[in-house]
Symmetry: C2
Subunit: 209 residues, 2 copies
């Protein structure tokens, strides 16, 4: 289960602020998550998420002292681009990135909670579908929704997926899932904090692609 | 019809060699072709093709004197990476790029030839499908083929497509198609020459993605 545990998210400080540098370092390991899904078509999603991370990083590196926390970035971009904000820059990139992060979170949580299709216990379609419906579906037009339904057939078997999360090692399912649960603690808190920030700053958009 | 005619391909010299610099300049305008398809999902394809072009350009810029023609690039890469070639570097990028170029060529040729679905004269699905089957299908596994079938529903109406090719101007259909035919002359010769080069150098692969 090293893929996730090797790069755990840190516990948030009491004010729930997120250190930009630490966040970027930790999150940069996550796109490989999509390699665990097996099929090469998911590299499209990996690139999209990678693009979000690089966009945020590029903004951060322009002035690390100004952008110490993620909230500093949003507030600075709101100030500098009042007319277009929040559909701009790192604010837009993080808006989408957090949805991908939520997708991963719900998928893993659902598996850790033991949710499964009793008729197809080695499939993860119910878990992937739940994650998609809660994290992404409403931001996708009919075409991307249909493409998701098609891509769902390429979702890996549960056993292969867990093995990939364990970097190819044969780990007992219960050990792997307990690692997942451990990873989810700080990860979920971080994703929740980003969502709260978008709500509080009124930075969320609901246009579809 | 400016989108294509503004950036016409040059006539090839008698030996059919393709000047790398000229080719890169001309082809760099083509990814916008996929914007003419209307839906935002086609940006995925646009990025893939853009990636191919940037990869070739990066190789070229490392040593413009060594890579005067496209054939120089393939031969140099074969020499430097005998073990992995041709699944490597600009050779691989151009292998895929030429398939995207062939797709565009067959689509436009089919429209210029007046091929259409008499029951749905304002749809271009027959033309897109023909281009896909001849240029790409055999290199795609079942999943990407299914995604193509889904994406086909997002293909634009003929009239909107022709208008987009004319950069939004209202041009008579016959004028637009005669511009297409004019564009296709040198373009087709160039794409053919690239295919011949891959055959002659035994550089073609037929793995699927
Ligand atoms: C030959 C046949 C060809 C046919 C062509 C069909 C092409 C099919 C393309 C399918 C869509 C792929 C997914 C990508 C979707 C993306 O469009 C969206 C929005 O993407 C955002 O858009 C913004 C502008 O609006 C900025 O550019 C953001 O970029 S910015 O950084 O510049 O600001 C960018 O991330 N991201 C998303 O929806 C995020 C997706 C996250 C992860 C989803 C997990 C799903 C897992 C499924 C498992 C079963
Ligand atoms: C939320 C839901 C999410 C679900 C996720 C689903 C994702 C769907 C993805 C669909 C595939 C999109 C098309 C891209 C396909 C690409 O995979 C292939 C091969 O791409 C090549 O691969 C090589 C390695 O093998 C190198 O990396 C090349 O890169 S290198 O430069 O590094 O060497 C690269 O171009 N290119 C292609 O097949 C080329 C496609 C050309 C144009 C096709 C026109 C079709 C038009 C259709 C109109 C109706």
């Amino acid at each position: 289960m090293s893929l996730l545990l090797d790069n755990q998210f840190k516990e948030l400080p009491p004010d729930n602020s997120i250190d930009t540098k630490l966040f970027l370092e930790t999150v940069s390991h996550l796109p490989s998550f999509f390699d665990c899904l097996g099929s090469k078509v998911f590299t499209v999603i990996k690139s999209d998420i990678n693009g979000n991370i690089m966009k945020i990083k590029a903004v951060y590196l322009k002035d690390p002292e100004r952008y110490v926390t993620l909230q500093h970035i949003l507030e600075a971009e709101r100030q500098d681009n009042a007319a277009e904000w929040p559909k701009i820059g790192a604010t837009l990139a993080l808006m989408w990135l957090k949805r991908g992060l939520r997708f991963i979170q719900i998928l893993l949580q659902s598996m850790a909670d033991g949710e499964r299709d009793e008729n197809n216990p080695n499939l993860i379609r119910v878990n992937v579908t739940k994650a998609y419906e809660q994290a992404l579906k409403k931001y996708h037009g009919w075409l991307v929704q249909k493409i998701f339904q098609t891509a769902l057939y390429a979702a890996p078997y549960r056993s292969n997926f867990l093995k990939a999360l364990s970097k190819g090692e044969e780990v007992k399912e219960e050990d792997c899932l307990s690692n997942v649960s451990q990873f989810l603690v700080n990860y979920t808190a971080t994703v929740d904090a980003i969502y709260d920030m978008y709500t509080n700053l009124n930075a969320e958009l609901d246009y579809t692609v």
